[in-house]
């Protein structure tokens, strides 16, 4: 009986250790999980959007680097994960802070299709943040389609900067 009890406690300790590792101490473990959630090859990103932000947001001053995407892709690239990790770390340290993820596209192609593609980019970043342990309720998405380029150029150098997800942090 005591042998069983000890075994049971060992299991509990192991489970706790694993879940803590997964959610907090080593974000990289969670990151490989989030890759599946957000990407074109991944699992469902169907996390229903709960509510709409008011038009007037109490925007915070902190700036975060935009996550960039490949042409016609909404997959979170490995090279961009650290940028999203930084946003997640900030959100964890600052309760009552939310983030609006704005998906953007380059100037080429259908304006309407780019609205949908931009939303998928924002949703992929949202899914990645949720995979890092962020509450989905504080992550809002918005697509700007191809309407808000940061670089007005007409070449790949400009396009690669415009295929992006921007982070706007706000006080809830």
């Amino acid at each position: 009986m005591s042998r069983n009890l000890w075994f049971g406690m060992l299991v509990v300790v192991l489970v706790c250790a694993l879940s803590t590792t997964g959610c907090r101490r080593k974000p990289k473990t969670a990151a490989s999980g989030a890759d599946n959630i957000g990407g074109l090859s991944g699992q469902s990103s169907e996390l229903g959007l709960s509510s709409r932000l008011p038009g007037e947001m109490d925007v915070r001053s902190e700036k975060f680097a935009s996550a960039l995407f490949d042409y016609d892709s909404a997959q979170v690239k490995e090279s961009e994960r650290a940028k999203i990790d930084a946003v997640a770390d900030f959100l964890k340290k600052n309760s009552r802070t939310g983030v609006l993820v704005e998906g953007n596209c380059d100037e080429r192609g259908s304006a309407e299709y780019n609205m949908s593609l931009g939303e998928r980019r924002a949703l992929a970043v949202r899914a990645y943040l949720v995979g890092l342990g962020i509450d989905g309720a504080i992550v809002q998405t918005k697509s700007n389609g191809k309407e808000k380029p940061v670089d007005m150029g007409h070449d790949e150098a400009a396009w690669s900067l415009n295929r992006r997800a921007d982070f706007v942090l706000f006080n809830q």
């Binding site: 469902s44 959007l49 038009g55 016609d72 259908s110 304006a111 309407e112 609205m115 949908s116 389609g145």
Partner: protein, 403 residues
């Protein structure tokens, strides 16, 4: 609601008498008929001259006629436009010369400044009487312009005249699409900061938000009976195709593509099917599905992107295909999947929309990084700018009214 800075156009003309002209199709699709308009008089300065000049331009733009002066024209137009008090009185007769047959006999009257609109009405009557086809002269085009520094919705006549700014949202406006009645339209605006879909009544200027769910609300398109819109929403976690009932507000979800984005729905003429864009194959392509649900069927196989479909009343789908390094306009028969390219590869052509005549399209042409609107005759091949080059800025996303 923000006050609209424009007044809806009202038509003041009235048809005094209308001898019912028998409609007969005397020509096959691609033939051009010769029409002699030299016997139609409207030379006095002012309204009569403007009427005749507008009528002639409309008949030429219709694509059906070669306007021969005298000689052996197949058809002839007789009549007169003259001042009548403050207004204009018009008599208009169209004949089949060889058969000595009267195809049209009408008189029109207008007061005020609706001379151009009256000429458009007469031109459409003449086209219908001679060819049996619906005209386009009296219709209008919605488009997006950015000359104020922001993208706003504009409206003009089918010949590019009477351009006026409809929205003053001072933000991004996108994708205006007509209701089948030609009196209302839907568009996407960022005026709430987020992309939402609005319905505008042109006569009253009333605007209602019809979709402001969390996430994306865009690409709305009216059903042929005007009772529903198909649109793209992401409220359930991914951009998918939905139908919203405009009376009760009920939503029906049509696609559940977890790994793909949908866009740009357009209804079949009978309202039973919807063509739309989906990138579920990895690139954006055209699919068709029943309004009642079921499996989408892929329509396009050539081109790395096929986008912006518009299903015309003629049964054909006009769309934009990325071939090589350039966007071009194609027309497809969805029953046979046969298609033909309608633009020459001298620029990027996008955003096509059918005219109600089933023959012309209006689209965006982008050259040297400037976008302008052009009208293309898919049968005759002509390419005509809608607005003069002096209209500054970029013009995109045209939508041609069906009334």
């Amino acid at each position: 609601m923000k006050r609209w800075g424009w007044i809806s156009a009202l038509v003041f003309f009235s048809v005094l008498s209308a001898a019912p002209a028998q409609v007969r199709v005397t020509k096959s699709m691609n033939e051009v008929s010769s029409l002699d308009i030299s016997q139609f008089v409207g030379k006095s300065a002012g309204a009569p001259a403007l009427f005749r000049q507008t009528l002639e331009a409309d008949l030429k733009a219709s694509g059906w006629f070669n306007l021969a002066a005298g000689g052996r024209a197949e058809y002839s137009l007789l009549g007169e436009a003259a001042m009548d008090g403050d207004g204009l009185a018009v008599r208009c007769e169209a004949y089949n010369v060889a058969g000595r047959e009267k195809l049209l006999g009408k008189t029109y009257k207008t007061t005020g400044r609706e001379v151009r609109r009256l000429a458009h009405k007469a031109a459409d009557d003449i086209v219908l009487a001679i060819t049996g086809k619906k005209g386009m002269a009296g219709t209008r085009i919605l488009l997006i312009g950015n000359r104020t520094g922001k993208k706003e919705v504009y409206l003009c006549d089918a010949d590019g005249q009477n351009l006026r700014q409809l929205t003053h949202d001072n933000t991004i406006s996108m994708a205006p699409k007509w209701a089948p009645d030609g009196g209302r339209f839907v568009y996407t605006s960022f005026r709430s900061r987020f992309p939402d879909v609005y319905l505008v009544n042109l006569a009253t200027g009333n605007r209602n938000c019809i979709a402001n769910y969390p996430g994306l609300n865009s690409s709305a398109a009216f059903s042929p009976d005007g009772g529903e819109v198909a649109l793209i929403l992401s409220k359930d976690g991914n951009p998918d195709l939905y139908i919203k009932d405009l009376d009760g507000g009920a939503l029906t979800r049509l696609t559940s593509t977890r790994r793909a984005a949908e866009a740009s729905p357009s209804w079949s003429p009978d309202g039973r099917q919807i063509v739309f864009v989906s990138d579920s194959s990895g690139t954006p392509q055209l699919y068709v599905m029943n309004r009642s649900g079921g499996e989408p069927k892929r329509l396009t196989s050539r081109g790395s992107q096929n986008v912006d479909p518009d299903w015309g009343a003629n049964g054909y789908i006009v769309y934009c295909s990325f071939i090589g390094r350039i966007y071009q306009i194609f027309v497809m028969n969805p029953a046979t999947l046969e298609f033909k390219q309608v633009t020459r590869e001298d620029a990027n052509y996008e955003d096509p929309s059918w005219a109600p005549d089933g023959r012309h399209i209006v689209c965006t042409r982008t050259s040297n990084y400037r976008s302008r609107i052009f009208v293309i005759d898919t049968q005759g091949g002509s390419l005509i700018p809608l607005l003069p080059d002096s209209e500054k800025g970029d013009w995109v996303a045209p939508s041609w009214s069906q009334q």
